[in-house]
């Protein structure tokens, strides 16, 4: 039983970080209907940013997100403005290939610049934990979970309470109608991709103290992001949050009871089932 609760709690905590990755992807998808294959690579860029802020300027990873978020936003906006905006009306497979190409460029540029060495970011609390009812809880994961909640709340406020946020949501609901209403769709796309990138970057920053960093680290997370996004309902932020936590739990608990090798199979089977029976996702309403 202890094993069960132990895996449940670590699943929930790691799920928080997954949620951030998923939310970023879901915003991009919601607004542009583009599947961003470079999402994991954005996360990787965020990791490297965090790593260098920490090793060169001695800024704590959890504090450095104040720098990472705006930088990644600008980077995402740049990518959108100069690359992705140009294929908004292109065939979907061209959009996919463009993001794959961008991802390759990112990971290989980083490799040339910093070699493909593994980098480990060690903080004083990287492997610290505390006990609650005999269960060990990782301190850095708990902090990152808390930060995830705060960021999600702010995002909500932004999307529901501000004009720009409303415009983004309108674009996500119906691109054509939004355009007719006088919403600058291209600008909204830029903001959306910026947001997506900064969320991916933040996830990278949050995971950096407990994980390791290398140029190809993104691919694992790209696939995970897809699963989370679909699970929650493409375009739904609450959905992505829940989807992230759910995937965290499925991986963690499934790893124990079905075998850690099989857990990927379970995750993807769950993913397919959701796609089939509720293609709009657990909480999604938008149709395509």
């Amino acid at each position: 039983m202890a094993v069960f609760f132990q895996s449940l709690i670590s699943g929930i905590l790691i799920g928080g970080v997954y949620a951030l990755i998923g939310i970023g992807l879901t915003i991009i998808f919601g607004v542009m209907r583009i599947i961003n294959f470079a999402h994991g690579d954005l996360l990787m860029v965020g990791m490297y940013l965090t790593y260098f802020l920490f090793t060169l300027l001695h800024i704590d990873p959890f504090v450095s997100i104040i720098v990472t978020i705006p930088l990644m936003f600008l980077y995402g906006a740049f990518l959108q403005k100069f690359f992705i905006n140009r294929v908004l009306d292109a065939l979907p497979q061209n959009q996919i290939l463009l993001t794959i190409g961008l991802g390759l460029v990112m990971s290989n540029t980083v490799m040339l610049a910093f070699t493909s060495d593994y980098r480990i970011l060690t903080t004083t609390y990287s492997s610290s934990s505390f006990n609650v009812f005999g269960l060990s809880i990782s301190t850095p994961l708990l902090i990152s979970f808390a930060i995830t909640i705060v960021i999600t709340a702010i995002l909500y406020w932004f999307l529901y309470r501000t004009d720009t946020g409303q415009a983004i949501r309108a674009t996500a609901q119906d691109r054509g109608a939004a355009q007719l209403m006088g919403i600058n769709v291209k600008r909204m796309s830029i903001i959306a991709f910026g947001l997506g990138a900064s969320l991916a970057g933040t996830a990278g920053a949050l995971i950096a103290p407990t994980y390791y960093i290398f140029p190809q680290v993104g691919s694992v997370f790209t696939l995970k992001a897809f699963v989370i996004t679909v699970l929650g309902g493409m375009g739904s932020i609450v959905g992505a949050t829940l989807g992230g936590v759910l995937i965290g739990i499925v991986e963690s608990v499934g790893g124990v009871y079905i075998g850690s090798g099989w857990k990927d199979v379970i995750v993807f089977v769950v993913f397919l089932l959701v796609l089939l029976f509720k293609p709009s996702g657990l909480l999604g309403t938008s149709k395509d």
Partner: protein, 356 residues
């Protein structure tokens, strides 16, 4: 040109002659080319063309953008090798068993996934391929992560004469070439048939097609089945040729992406698109990988090997080839969204307008 372009049923003499001549040339090629390296590249090109042509039926003509075709490539590869290694069934039978298995699985997958559209279908196709990859990684049947290593391919005999013992590359070359030609002929037949029109109707507007009485799921499955036959054969050929398979090489997302890439670079929904894509992409990425550009520059005497640029090119460019590949990919998508064929066609019409 016009004269040849369109006869009654889209058949014309000139292109057919050209194609036959090209095919004949390819058949004779191994007699003239001694470089096995060139043959190796040709075989890789053939495998790519077969995969691409297969994908093109589903992705190009029917508009279902699967990014999970590695699943069927892997099924073909695994079935052939499992039957050969563990049950001593010759690969030329095994490959067909592979086709049957792949098609059967594809139809199950298809009848489930084709309820989804657009990006949802794409994601579902990725998920299916990942399920196969993760399963192959954990099954005893597939020997898990250790993969399957060929010990010996039995010689191919007709009666008592040994046709080939598979020691050289030539048999693989011909297997690839024949499959490729069949794939292209099938594409042509599909394009000019009722089936092909239905496929394209679904691609253009699924709902309209449905209201005209075309059952989208049934026809999408038909397209998938045709597509999978060639993907699976390509997988079998790859497995026999390379002699070793494991989940991360024959069931990987990379591979699915590579298949799509070939078609897009060439031009999707066209008969020759995948072939052109493969002919460009495979040698080009090979030249990049083995740093031939730098070597050529040095050999030509333009840049001295010992100069700073020379040593930079020689040492560093070998690390940068994937980066260059990525940059080119971005450029192609941005400036040639319809692939090389589409781009060439656009140039032609432009010129024609100018001359008029």
């Amino acid at each position: 040109m016009r004269l040849f372009m369109h006869n009654m049923r889209g058949m014309s003499v000139f292109p057919v002659l050209l194609t036959v001549a090209a095919a004949a040339g390819l058949f004779l090629l191994p007699n003239f080319v001694e470089s096995t390296y060139a043959l190796h590249i040709m075989i890789l090109i053939f495998i790519s063309v077969i995969m691409g042509t297969g994908w093109n039926i589903l992705g190009g003509y029917t508009g279902q953008y699967s990014v999970g075709h590695a699943a069927y490539f892997g099924i073909g590869a695994y079935t052939t090798l499992i039957l050969m290694q563990y049950h001593h069934i010759a690969p030329w039978y095994g490959a067909w068993v592979g086709v049957v298995v792949a098609v059967a699985i594809a139809l199950v997958v298809g009848s489930i996934c084709f309820r989804l559209r657009g990006p949802y279908f794409t994601l579902a196709s990725i998920a299916v391929a990942e399920i196969f990859r993760a399963t192959a990684l954990n099954l005893r049947l597939t020997n898990g992560a250790e993969g399957i290593l060929i010990t010996d391919i039995p010689p191919f005999k007709i009666g008592n004469t040994v046709i080939t013992d598979f020691m050289s590359k030539v048999p693989f070359y011909y297997m690839g070439l024949v499959t490729l030609i069949i794939a292209i002929i099938v594409t042509r037949m599909v394009q000019n048939s009722k089936l092909g029109y239905y496929f394209q109707a679904i691609r253009e507007d699924q709902d309209a097609a449905h209201s005209l009485g075309i059952n989208p799921t049934a026809y999408k499955n038909a397209a998938l089945a045709i597509s999978v036959v060639f993907t699976s054969l390509a997988g079998s050929l790859y497995a026999l040729y390379v002699g070793f398979i494991d989940p991360s090489t024959v069931l990987a997302l990379d591979l699915s992406v590579h298949i799509v890439m070939i078609c897009i670079i060439g031009g999707i929904g066209t008969i020759w698109g995948p072939a052109i894509g493969a002919v460009i992409l495979v040698p080009f990425s090979e030249a990049l990988r083995s740093n031939m550009i730098a070597q050529a520059l040095i050999d030509s005497g333009l840049i001295s090997e010992n100069s700073r640029i020379g040593s930079f090119l020689k040492d560093q460019l070998s690390h940068a080839h994937v980066l260059i590949y990525g940059i080119l990919l971005v450029i192609v998508i941005l400036y040639m969204p319809d692939g090389i064929l589409g781009f060439a066609r656009k140039l032609l019409t432009k010129r024609r307008k100018e001359t008029i």
